[in-house]
Symmetry: C2
Subunit: 205 residues, 2 copies
């Protein structure tokens, strides 16, 4: 099979996902080593996990919730990554941030990576809540005015773009955050960055 060296790594994630946050900080360096670019693809765990799969929110699951709280803090310590969010606080509404990203991908594609990092730094690094469109107005993203972003996140175009993105991600079999998609192959979980790296190095197995 001819490998498309200039191909994209599709990074599927939900802004409410701490493991998506950790992986977002490592995926670009990995992609660059393999001559790949990253496409940032928002998905919604509230649709895949709760509605399609019929499971519970991770942190509300007995046993697993406690493990995940511990593991997220341990992961942040190991990576030396700021983690300002209270894991027992109510989960942020991910719709405004995900809609804003969809809108930015359409109208300001060169700013999408910076927007992802700004959102993740705000909500997971600093522990801010970005549950409403207006919360986005204070984000500092080169090439994107905060007020414009807030207005877009409240608009119908962004909502429709996100609905389409979520449907596309479900059709591609995406259910968890983060999931890395490369040449039609899926790798689910931040722990699979090593597998993704090996896959790109070897051409697969």
């Amino acid at each position: 099979m001819l490998r498309d060296m200039a191909g994209t790594i599709r990074f599927h994630f939900d802004f409410i996902s701490p493991y998506g946050y950790f992986a977002s900080l490592r995926i670009e360096a990995l992609a660059q080593r393999h001559g790949r670019t990253v496409e940032w693809c928002p998905m919604l765990l509230g649709v895949s996990v709760l509605k399609v799969m019929g499971l519970k929110p991770l942190l509300d699951t007995p046993l697993k919730g406690d493990y995940i709280r511990h593991d997220v803090r341990r992961h942040a310590r190991r990576d030396g990554v700021p983690l300002g969010r209270d894991l027992d606080a109510p989960v942020m509404n991910p719709l405004p941030t995900a809609r804003a990203l969809c809108w930015a991908k359409r109208h300001h594609p060169a700013s999408q990576a910076a927007l992802v990092h700004a959102i993740y730094a705000a909500c997971w690094g600093e522990g801010r809540d970005l549950s409403t469109p207006q919360d986005l107005a204070s984000l500092s993203v080169p090439g994107l005015a905060g007020e414009e972003l807030a207005a877009a996140a409240a608009g119908e175009e962004a909502a429709q773009l996100l609905r389409d993105a979520v449907q596309a991600s479900l059709a591609a079999g995406i259910f968890g955050s983060p999931t890395f998609e490369v040449d039609g192959e899926l790798f689910w979980g931040v722990d699979r960055l090593g597998d993704l790296d090996d896959w790109l190095t070897s051409g697969g197995w």
Copy 2:
């Protein structure tokens, strides 16, 4: 904190778990590098996942089931591990195998590792079904007679030992297979063998 260099790595697993199978083939070499021994600790996903956590069987979960089928085969190919089991076949009843291991740990502790490998090789490597005590009679394990194992797996002592083991694993916060427990720290998933290795090397973080 004084580290117990001679301490044990508790390897928690269910025989129905393919990721437990993959990890079982790597844990002893890892433990040996750190001067640790392995204790094989059966748990039951049917209790932790289905009853306590209220989730569905992995392979019956929409989206995730398809991913896991693909990922298990991919994982086996990468590790060069035989995978003779039909992932669409009914899940094996894990009680006789788990009970047999509990009994062997009590009465033939030196044979426990060989028994684990014999069971996993039979059910995941060769695709055999060990759902009944009598299925264990054909296992070849140094120091353990197959017929004795089959009789023990059908007895009340083994059943009680497993009930106690499962309660202890739940009390320790174990919910998934495999989970590695070292010095009170839990690492869930075969993908965390690297983390476990780093933890033992560095003394934790």
